[in-house]
Structure formats: C-alpha cells, structure tokens
Symmetry: C2
C-alpha cells in the first residue's frame, strides 16, 4: 500500500524569526503516515486566496522581499515592521505550513473500507498545509469530485463557495430577507451574485469602479452601486429601499464604508417611519466585516440610531455553529453546481517554486479584481 | 372624582421650527382625561437625565440660547446648525413633550378598582411628558412606592436602575461572566457598582480622572482603571485577565475607547492561547454603545481578531425583549432596594420655570460627573 515516491514531498512553509524577518521556503517534508481512516492526497491544484496570503506573508513589508535559500531549498525573505512583531508573538520561530484548500488524487489510504474506497479518486480537501506535494487527511473530510471534474475545477470547493453560501445562510438565520456585499466584483462576489440570482434573493452589489459595475451587470446583477461615484449614498439608499436589505458583508473593513452601509440602511428605515424618535428607527441593521482589504481603522459616524451591530464574520466558526449535517448539505450543493454557480476562473497556474519568485509574488499579492492564481504542485 | 385644579397644568415642550430654531417653552395644557384604567399623577419630582437633554435641546447650539416667550408662557430659543436639520426632519413643527420618568401623588383615577385603589398613593411612572404638573398613565404601569419613600426617592426608579440591571442581565443572557463599564463614575455607574458588589459580579470600572477613580474605590469598587493614565492599556489588560470580562457597556461612543476595550479583551484572550491563529482568538468579545458623551466618530483599529461585535444598546428594546414578567421582576428589585442600591443623589432641585433659565440650562447641560438635577413641578 505504500509507494516509495509518496513518502516525502516538498512543502511550503512561512517562518517569522525573532530577528524580525519572515522567510517563506520550500522544505522536503515526510508525508504523514495515514492511520486506518486516513488518505494521502497528491495535491494537483490549490488556489491562492487572500487568507492564504495573510498567513504566507502576514504584515511583512512586501517591498523588502528578496530571494534567499538555495537551489535545493529555495526561499524568500522579507522584513516585518517592528510594531507588527508583538501581534505575531505566538507564531515566532514556528515554520507554519500554508494553503487552506486544494484538490488532487488519492494515492494511498489506511486500512478502513471507507479510506480504501477512495484510492484513485479525485477529491477536494480543506484544512491547511495544501501548498505541498502530499497531504494526509481523514477520508471522511474529503469531498469526492464528479468524474468530469478536473483538479482545477475542484481546487476552490470550500473557502469561496462556503463563504458565499454562509452569507446567504446567515442572512436567513438572522431574520433578514436581502443582503449587501462589498468588493462585489471579486471571485467570491461573482459567486454570491450567481447564488442570489438562482435562489431569487435580492443582493446589493457594492463595487469600486464602473468597470466592476459592468462586469456584474453583464452577469445579470440587478442592484450594483459604485462607492467611488458622487451619487453613491443616494444610489445605495435607493437600492436598500427597493430590496429591504438590512445585513451587509464587508470585505474591506477599514474606512467609512461600514458606517455608510449602516447610515443608508437607517435612512431607508426612517423613511418608512411615521413618528419621530431621537433614538432612530427600531429596524435592526447588521454589518459583518469578513476581510481587511482596507487596513485603515474602521470609522463609524453613528448616524444610524441604536439598533445596529457590527462584527467579525469567519467561515470556520460559522460552520461549527450550524453543525456537521447542515455544513454537509452546503458542501453537497457546491459539488452539484461545481461547474456553474461555483465555477472559479484562474489567471495563471504556477508551480510551488514559482510561489517563491519575487516577480510572481508581486503579481499574486496585488489582489486585483478578477485575478486569481492556482498552484499546481505537480509542475516542475 | 374630578377637581377643578387638576384639569389643566403647565407642560414643557420642545419645538424644532422649519426656520432652524429650537424653542423650549412652558405651555398650559389640558390634562388628559383618565379612562377607566387610568390615573392622573401630580408630578412632584422628575430627574434631568442625559436622554432628556437630548430630546430637550437635540443638536441645537447651546451657546446661542436666549430667553424668548412671555411671562405667561416663558420660553428659550436656540439655533440648530443647518447640517443637523436633515436628521430632525421627522420632528419639525411638532411641540414634543419631554421627561422620561418621575414620581408623584395620584390625584384622580378612572372607575376601575385597580385605578381607584391608587388614589392618594405615591407612585413612580415612566413614559415621557413628565416635565409637567400632571400626567395621565395606565394604573398598571405605575410603580407604587413604599410609605417611607419621598417623590425624590422614587423619581429615578426606571431609567438608571433598569439600565444598570439590564446590563447585568444582558451579560448573563449572552454568556459572559464579568463586565466592563465606561464613564463608570456617573450616577448610573455608581449604581452598577453597587449592584455588582451585592451580586458578587466582577466589574471593571473605566473612569477619566483620579478623582473619579477615588470616588469608586471609596464605594468599594475592586477594579478601577483610568483611561487618561499612561498605563491605561496595561492596567485594563490586567483587570480583564483577572476578571475574565468579555462584554463592555460604553457610554462615550466616540473615539478609540471601544476599540481599546476590544483590543485589551483580545490581548487577555490571546495570552491564554497555546497555538497561533492569524484570525486571533476564538473568544467572543462584545462592546455595546449605549450613549454618546463623545460625539466624534467611533474608530476601530480591528486589532482584535474576528470574534467580536459592537452594537447599540437601549433600555426600551431590551425590556421588550425580556418580556413583561421579567421586566416586572427587575422593577420590583428597584423598589425593594430604593434607598440603598438604587439611591440617586441630586445636586439641585429646580422648578419648571427654572428649566428655561439660560444660566440654569448651562449648569444642567454640562453633564458633569456626580451632578444631577431634579425638577419639582410643584415649586412656584
């Protein structure tokens, strides 16, 4: 059941040194021996998501990146600003594996029938350390892909699809009937737009350029507002009045956008009121911050009464909260609509060694809308 | 059952005119005729709470206040900044009555036995329009006071006591075991401190001066931190580590205080973690803003992971949420501990006419810690 070639493989690791340097390197790493219920997956496709970039480079100064290491163990090094080091205390001197999700072929398996049944199957998996040639996981955690799906098709089965479905599910569970999404032209945003069109849920897409607005309109989006337009607040209030959306998911985090969303929701609610209250409307307004594209502080003008909440939202705690059965239902929907609703498009496929090339790093850390990189660890 | 003298009385009203002026005046107003289940209360004591000042003067420029009206109907006028007028659209040209709560003697009653039983009793009442000589309310909504309680003792039975009890109750219902309070030397803060001492709940009191710190320490407070001290963050983290408080009620609203509270809670939580997560701790941290002493924008540095929430908190929706029975239990506790836990102290007792004197307005709108004004409408 074991094969010489799968016993070890290259693995990408991110190390913050006490000296204030961050080093990302490719390390030959022994493959974790599968237990009876485990499988070993040869990773063939794993995407670079914003959350992966966060773990890869943390708050390091990307302008200071230089090649380091050797041909055998290639590496890059960057400087971490001193004030950021205190936040990283818990990860200093640990070479952390990276990569949230991926897909590949099951090349070995433990003795249990469930694990054995997966040998040779293409599966999608989640759980970190995917930027590697091999990854050992529980057979029960693998999502077998349809026969016609490539590894690239299945590489992004979890993070974006479950986040987009999680937003819709959170909207329903918390009693809202329509939602707002910012950075709406992102890969995730386009996916959310397709879910909402399919499920007939009103979605207000907030974008940052006319080009992004056109992209979404061409994809059938009904409500698109441009936050850089002079008529932004009026357009937003009109869209919120029409849709009744009282929950928003904000990928930017910083600046005044969350405050503008709450203010516009309140304006739409106050317009429906018949009596004055100096505490504002009693319509409950929720904004969840799930990303940090804008690292500046969040600024709230509090011009939206007292019936509001702002909070952080993350996929993993959400999945824990809804429980295994419900999470399984969402996963199954992703597989069923893998090539339609949940299709991901990649700008470029790169090797593990490419991940460490300064010019490639510059490209994939830019996080430009519509650009997404896929790592294929089987490439030389 | 009717008495000539109670048929009408003076009532204080706040009017925003479309011209951009705010006028507060004393108007002879017919007493609302009691229905079978109603009582008419002669108001003898009604406090000036921050929320009352908000309705009385809204965003008017207090520097522009001048006397207006006549001897018969005295009034003051102030200018409203043009940019604030849009927020006030719903109250323009309505002379709104003011005064959240008060106490007095039942002078008339409807025919029902329940209402009749209250004639001659001293009661505390809630529900607006208390800055008046007479107020008609449902008998069921009145809180009969103990025989040894004066109207002044019972005047502040609702807003501060129920807000303080509501904070403790919210802490319990949302799964926290200790709490933080800002502007902790306020009348409300001192009350909350007494509740927490009596109920053995750990409370972190955040104050803005050494004098306020001493006031609370003298009242038995165990954890007092001064936000103007250079060691504030270290002191706060130490107090949060010791108490395990993960919920805070913030009266200031603006600036960085809410952000500092969340950051310090996260620091205390991260210190307990054994593995690094770039998403921060999974300890849920809650800050509720219940006031706006600092009108500047709220600024969040988001240096506290993703497991957090910030929201508005108000007494009325809280009471609606917990239901009539539970709210009744809280009210009963207030009456039982009226002269101890829930005792209020007043700086000065003034008449309805005094409320309209510019120098008195300057004094009661200052909102200085420890200063609280009581209106006695029976004074000439």
């Amino acid at each position: 059941m074991t094969s010489q070639t799968t016993d070890q493989g290259l693995q990408l690791r991110s190390l913050v040194k006490a000296s204030g340097e961050l080093e990302v390197s490719l390390q030959p790493t022994p493959t974790v021996e599968p237990g009876p219920d485990d499988i070993v997956v040869r990773i063939e496709a794993t995407p670079i998501n914003p959350s992966d970039i966060g773990l890869l480079f943390g708050p390091a100064d990307l302008g200071s990146i230089r090649s380091s290491g050797s041909d055998d163990t290639p590496a890059v090094t960057a400087d971490v600003p001193p004030r950021a080091m205190t936040m990283l205390a818990a990860r200093v001197d640990q070479a952390l594996p990276v990569g949230n999700e991926g897909a590949g072929t099951v090349v070995r398996a433990g003795a249990s029938p469930q694990a054995q049944a997966l040998i040779g199957r293409r599966v999608a998996i989640l759980g970190g350390a995917m930027y590697a040639e091999y990854r050992t996981v529980k057979a029960a955690d693998a999502l077998p892909l349809p026969d016609d799906a490539t590894a690239a098709d299945g590489a992004s089965c979890f993070v974006n699809p479950l986040t987009a479905l999680g937003m819709v599910e959170t909207m329903r569970r918390e009693g809202h009937t329509a939602l707002v999404h910012t950075a709406a032209a992102s890969n995730l945003g386009q996916m959310l737009n397709r879910i909402c069109l399919k499920d007939a849920i009103a979605l207000v897409n907030v974008v940052r350029s006319d080009k992004q607005a056109k992209l979404l309109a061409d994809a059938g989006a009904k409500h698109v507002v441009n936050s850089t337009s002079p008529g932004f607040m009026a357009d937003l209030i009109a869209a919120l009045t029409e849709t009744g959306a009282t929950i928003a998911f904000d990928a930017t985090g910083g600046g005044r956008l969350a405050s503008q969303l709450l203010t516009a929701m309140e304006a739409a609610a106050v317009a429906r009121m018949t009596t004055y209250s100096r505490y504002g409307s009693d319509t409950f307004k929720q904004v969840y911050i799930y990303g940090g594209l804008d690292v500046s502080p969040t600024e709230l003008t509090r011009s939206f009464g007292f019936s509001w909440a702002l909070g952080g939202w993350l996929l993993t705690p959400f999945l824990q909260k809804i429980g295994a059965e419900e999470a399984g239902r969402l996963r199954q929907r992703v597989v069923s609509e893998l090539k339609t609703t949940f299709a991901s498009h990649y700008t470029r496929e790169i090797s593990l060694r490419d991940v460490l090339k300064p010019d490639v790093i510059k490209a994939y850390t830019r996080r430009a809308t519509g650009e997404k990189y896929l790592i294929n660890p089987t490439l030389p």
